[in-house]
Symmetry: C2
């Protein structure tokens, strides 16, 4: 096992001090001849600087931490692309971890990021991890919470989210415009985003004279529970003519639940989901999309630019009409 060259080895080989090596590496004032000597030693020894040590000295690393709740969701996927792109443009690496939707894991991962002294943190986790994010923000590490807002955020703790009520209203409006009169909803749980979307939906539906009773909303935390949820909705109201899914993560499963029962879209039932995805055009599925990629970009810019005040960015959803809800 070959030992790695240190800055000391380079210094020795070049016949200069470590300070001088550090200077040529980081662009200090040095003679051209010294620089040449040093660079040749660097090449000869295949010296690769140790970013860890640099980070120790600086008090923090140069990588950006990202804690994702569930990689499998199309929203997170585009979000990561956006994050990765601007991080790359700033020469920052991205360190990420996935919490598999477990709260204890969320807290642990955020803590791990803190231990790594990340330059900034982007999380899509729930409120339990906010405490640490606040501390980190107070300590000078910009944090961005994505997909929900933070109550009473201190300086340095930002949020990037969607106007979820508007998303719900958009869905309701389209369904009504397509002449649907009885809608069932599959939601993933009780996170704020889910509740707000449902609220917006109910609100706007009511304005069209269409009620959305509580039992027209079925909860399916995981894919495996979706089929039952769909079954429940269908059984409850024989005249159900629309199903909406408030999270892209479960869209495949909801769609499958409908197909498995021999229901044809949109003739037998309309299907509308959150979050656009690459195959949606091929399937003709109408969606309410979040600008996930742009949200990832903006979140990362907040980390990089580290504004003093707490920024609270809210993005607007967009209805992308395809065929799955029929036409008016």
């Amino acid at each position: 096992m070959v030992k790695r060259a240190t800055i000391g080895d380079v210094a020795a080989h070049a016949g200069v001090s470590t300070a001088t090596v550090s200077r040529v590496l980081n662009g200090g004032a040095v003679t051209e001849v010294t620089a040449t000597k040093v660079w040749s030693a660097v090449t000869r020894l295949e010296y690769t600087p140790n970013a860890l040590t640099r980070g120790v000295f600086a008090g923090r690393s140069s990588t950006i931490g990202v804690v994702i709740r569930d990689l499998a969701s199309p929203f997170y996927f585009d979000l990561i692309r956006g994050i990765d792109e601007v991080a790359g443009a700033h020469g920052s690496l991205v360190m990420f971890s996935n919490t598999f939707r477990r709260v204890d894991s969320e807290v642990a991962q955020v803590r791990a990021m803190d231990e790594q002294r990340v330059r900034g943190l982007i999380v899509t986790t729930g409120e339990p991890s906010d405490e640490r994010a606040r501390r980190m923000a107070a300590g000078g590490t910009p944090c961005v919470v994505v997909a929900r807002t933070v109550r009473n955020p201190p300086p340095g703790l930002h949020s990037v989210s969607l106007d979820n009520v508007a998303a719900g209203r958009l869905m309701a409006g389209h369904l009504a415009a397509c002449g649907r009169t009885s809608v069932g909803v599959v939601i993933a749980g009780t996170r704020p985003s889910q509740r707000e979307r449902t609220a917006g939906l109910r609100q706007a539906l009511a304005e069209f004279g269409l009620p959305l009773p509580p039992d027209a909303v079925a909860v399916a935390p995981a894919e495996g529970e979706v089929s039952d949820a769909v079954g429940l909705l269908l059984a409850r109201d024989k005249r159900l003519d629309a199903i909406v899914c408030t999270t892209g993560r479960l869209a495949v499963a909801v769609h499958a639940g409908l197909s498995d029962r021999g229901l044809s879209i949109p003739d037998d039932i309309a299907f509308l989901t959150m979050d656009d995805f690459p195959w949606a055009p091929a399937l003709g599925i109408t969606v309410v999309a979040q600008p996930a990629y742009e949200m990832g970009r903006r979140a990362t810019e907040l980390v990089v630019e580290a504004p003093g005040e707490a920024a609270e960015l809210v993005f607007e959803p967009a209805l992308i009409k395809r065929r799955s809800c029929g036409e008016a």
Copy 2:
């Protein structure tokens, strides 16, 4: 901006030495009373250990580096899930970066991972980055190349790949079984995986008496070029009755290229692609799948277990029959 507590602060508050604090933090021999004093100081000061410094001392960090060529591919997506899962189980964070398919970026990212002194490295990059991977392996950092093999690998440089020839043969066999007689192929480029898949396809097709002339293979490096490639194939042979796509990344685009021309699948033309994806069942698309998730897991296990010899894992593809090729 609140200053972070260091181990020295904790020591001072607990009335012990930094060595003792380090011992209680890392499980050395200490009295119960000292331990209690230290822990209470830790809590009071909200002390969070600095993983960077730890890494400096250990000579390496505890995070695993992953360099991905293109996040947008379904293969990489499942691969990452596998990586993330076993890394999580071992308490390692994952640091990843995306190279957007640019060779210079690949080399730079791998270098960055080296500078970070990652505990191990998993790359899906091309050969130019192998040189550094060899050096890293020689220095005791296990490296795993995914999606291709490495010629003459030194100890510590492993590979995890697919039997691409078998994948091509599988595709050919299915197409022949479905009675297709003239196939066109869309490939992404000239990487080994693409060439091997094409070779397997051609080979097996020939055994069925079906030739695959060079101009029945169209190259489309990016999504934007797919439609033209499909057009070319269609124009070349009016009797074309099957299109295969050798990479999941371009499947959406190929499928769209067919639909846009009003071609119905499988009646007008069969469609067969590499890499399974969540919506494939809904679309009835037949695929030859790679066990991407499992490959990610195994790659990470190689990093964690760091076998002395160079491991060369080859996985088998699987045909998942759906409706897009019609039946025999």
